[in-house]
């Protein structure tokens, strides 16, 4: 009490005009800040809407039966997307066949068995670094190692798939480790308790429980690989290919590269075809991401 008496300052009068003005000013600043935040959010989302609307209005007129079944051509009226789509599917098949098993096995090893030593640290550091390396560097790797050193066929889905697999694998490993980590230790203890070996614990109990999480991460990684362009340009998948590839060692192109090639064409008719190809690519990506979200919601389990 004596403190208040000694400072001899009158208590703040909250109803006085200067104080009211000050409070009003602070509340106005509050509202301005809040509106600024809302504006930033709406602007960011607006860009997305604008982008999708631009592509859709340009592209929807470009669809026809011929567009869906044909391959690249020199005239915009005769081009089709099937060749590039098939190239993409073959490339993704190679990527999945390599990245999924290697990624899952690596995740299991690191999370369940790896001893804590320098060697394991090195594996972890390289995986985290690979996840952050710019994609074009993988293209340089593919060019130097797979084409110039190992002499694999140029422009082929095989090489593209291997290159993208190296890029996708770290994503799968990181997602897989999180999924394996989320399985509670009690499951492992129970399995060990009834006499399962360490391998049986993981392959019979942990892995099935972690699989939805691993698959979600895999689909996200594959979607990223499907939209990737730069590394595939490096390994020559930008050739003019007038017929769909027959196998994984035939020259091929993929959807994003086809978009890039058509966007370079001067002819006006290619604008609508490019946008139509983008619509096809986005439909695939949205479908994949939708499946990933569905899997996550359906199988995610809180232990």
């Amino acid at each position: 009490m004596s403190d208040v008496a000694r400072t001899a300052r009158p208590p703040t009068d909250w109803n006085a005009a200067p104080m009211q003005r000050r409070i009003r000013r602070r509340y106005a600043a509050e509202r301005r800040f809040r509106l600024l935040g809302l504006a930033a959010l709406l602007l960011s989302a607006g860009f997305l809407v604008f982008l999708l609307a631009t592509v859709a209005t340009n592209g929807l007129s470009g669809f026809s039966w011929m567009f869906l079944t044909g391959s690249d051509a020199t005239e915009p009226a005769r081009v089709g997307i099937w060749g590039a789509l098939k190239g993409s599917l073959l490339t993704m098949a190679v990527t999945f066949a390599l990245a999924f098993p290697i990624g899952v096995l690596t995740a299991i090893y690191l999370e369940e068995y790896a001893p804590r030593n320098r060697w394991t640290d090195m594996i972890e550091v390289s995986i985290n670094n690979l996840a952050a390396v710019p994609s074009i560097i993988f293209g340089l790797l593919g060019l130097a190692v797979f084409l110039n050193f190992m002499h694999l066929p140029r422009s082929a889905p095989l090489v593209g798939g291997i290159t993208l697999a190296l890029m996708t694998m770290p994503v799968i490993v990181i997602a897989g480790r999180n999924a394996v980590k989320a399985v509670p230790p009690s499951i492992r203890d129970a399995a060990l308790g009834v006499g399962a070996s360490r391998i049986q614990v993981v392959f019979h109990h942990v892995l099935p429980l972690a699989l939805p999480g691993i698959l979600t991460g895999t689909i996200v990684g594959m979607a990223r690989a499907l939209g990737e362009t730069a590394p595939l340009l490096m390994i020559g998948m930008r050739a003019f290919i007038a017929s769909p590839p027959g196998g994984i060692s035939d020259p091929a192109t993929v959807l994003p590269v086809q978009i890039f090639l058509w966007s370079d064409e001067a002819s006006r008719g290619f604008v609508e075809k490019t946008s139509a190809a983008i619509v096809v690519l986005l439909v695939f990506l949205l479908a994949m991401n939708g499946i990933a979200i569905y899997l996550r919601n359906k199988f995610e389990r809180r232990w």
Partner: protein, 460 residues
């Protein structure tokens, strides 16, 4: 008879081995007097592995080896005596004959190739048969030997599990090998480049024109490899313009989502921002080149500035949009990680929400936000398609955002997608640029992770 049919046969052999061994093991597993060490299926796997893996390894080695053997046989044949002695023609004829023999091509242009084709067919058939025979022999021998070991006391499970562990270790080595492969391929090719062009000129030179002339007496035949304009263009687009767009928008979006938005808004807007990150970069590039670049050029001309249709601003703006979700999700995480007590304390002192955010939350979350921005910069400077499609090729050192600049990634693509021999300094320069890009993004990532980690420790 190619690789795949034989591999399929070996897999079939493995399946038969699995079934046979499991049946044998199941028979003694039923016997009551003595319990077997391993379950029948482990015996099955053990025998199947022995039947399939050595045979597959042999097949892999044989496929690589037999190509040379087939070639030798063909060259030793009387039909090959008429071949021209050396040079491209000989290679072309041989290649065509092989294509004919394998059914890759239907028609040969060179008459000699048509003569050689049957020889090739015979040779391929001969060596394939040898390969098939030896692979089958190895498969049966391995499987048979393993089958004789199947007994109640045999520890099949231990052996199989050891193989599984080895496979796991091998798989995890792929990541290390990839890293080594990246570093080696970049360093080796860059070293060849630096043998021709001095590193000092590359790192500090102001003039970039890699177009080496065809004739030696042409002007500028040596090409100039001063990469400073490229580095400037990369920083200008990726670290300045893009961040001027992405930091305010991303940070404010994150603040609004974490501190103001109702849960329903948050649940809908977060995935929408994530979609922004999932749009392929080639789509952003097309959007930048088709829609943004003309608008930016017109705007620049309206201001009376020299403006190009491939401006730094157009590429930077669109790249900034692409980066927004990265900044916002990193900022979101670090603001959410600020202890609730700090928020409550500030509010209890009478500060408004915005004052709490500006004076307490953002300073507390700053290390995390800075780490996120560094990661975003590292992503922006490694981004390729947007700048290839929307930024120019002219290596200008300019501060005018309406002018054209070029970036490291654009030049890598341009240098490597033409038709030139691989050994010229022009193509090797791409690897030197790639090495610089790799080192810079690596450094940015390491610093960013350090910053974020240190900050996390501060609050735990």
């Amino acid at each position: 008879m190619a690789f795949w049919p034989i591999a399929l046969l070996i897999a079939g052999l493995g399946l038969v081995a699995w079934l046979a061994a499991r049946a044998k093991a199941a028979a003694f597993a039923r016997a009551p007097q003595r319990r077997a060490h391993s379950l029948p299926s482990y015996h099955g796997w053990y025998v199947a592995l022995w039947a399939a893996i050595p045979a597959l390894l042999f097949l892999l080695a044989w496929t690589n080896l037999s190509a040379g053997l087939i070639r030798q046989t063909v060259l030793a044949s009387p039909e090959a005596a008429a071949l021209p002695d050396f040079g491209l023609r000989r290679q072309a004829i041989l290649g065509e004959a092989r294509g004919l023999a394998r059914g890759d091509i239907e028609q040969a242009f060179q008459p000699q190739a048509r003569q050689l084709a049957p020889v090739y067919v015979d040779a391929i058939r001969f060596y394939s048969l040898i390969g098939l025979g030896v692979a089958a022999l190895i498969g049966f021998a391995g499987g048979g030997w393993a089958y004789t070991r199947v007994a109640p006391a045999f520890r099949a499970r231990t052996r199989v599990e050891r193989t599984v562990m080895a496979t796991l270790l091998l798989a995890s080595l792929v990541a290390v090998l990839t890293t080594i492969g990246i570093i080696l391929s970049l360093v080796v090719e860059a070293a060849r480049f630096f043998a021709a062009v001095s590193p000092a000129e590359f790192l500090f030179g102001l003039n970039w024109s890699p177009q080496t002339a065809i004739r030696a007496d042409q002007a500028g035949s040596s090409g100039a490899f001063g990469a400073i304009p490229l580095f400037w263009g990369t920083i200008f687009i990726g670290a300045i313009i893009a961040m001027l767009v992405a930091i305010p928008l991303g940070l404010m979006s994150a603040i609004y989502l974490t501190e103001y938005a109702r849960p329903v808004v948050r649940r809908w807007m977060k995935p929408i921002l994530e979609i922004l990150a999932g749009v392929p970069t080639v789509v952003y590039g097309y959007f930048a080149a088709l829609t943004v670049a003309p608008a930016v050029r017109d705007f620049g001309l309206m201001l009376g500035l020299p403006a190009s249709s491939e401006s730094a601003l157009a590429a930077g703006l669109v790249m900034g949009i692409m980066i927004i979700p990265f900044v916002s999700s990193m900022a979101d995480d670090s603001i959410a990680a600020v202890p609730q007590a700090m928020r409550d304390g500030s509010l209890a002192m009478g500060a408004t929400t915005s004052e709490t955010i500006r004076k307490v939350l953002v300073p507390a979350a700053l290390p995390g936000v800075v780490g996120g921005v560094l990661l975003a910069v590292s992503r922006a400077i490694g981004e390729t398609m947007i700048v290839v499609m929307a930024a120019g090729l002219a290596a200008n050192l300019t501060l005018n955002p309406f002018e054209s600049v070029t970036t490291v990634t654009t030049q890598i693509v341009m240098l490597l997608t033409g038709d030139q021999e691989f050994d010229s300094p022009k193509t090797l320069a791409a690897f030197a640029l790639g090495l610089v890009l790799f080192l810079v993004t690596l450094a940015l990532n390491i610093i960013a992770l350090r910053v974020v980690k240190k900050y996390r420790e501060a609050y735990e």
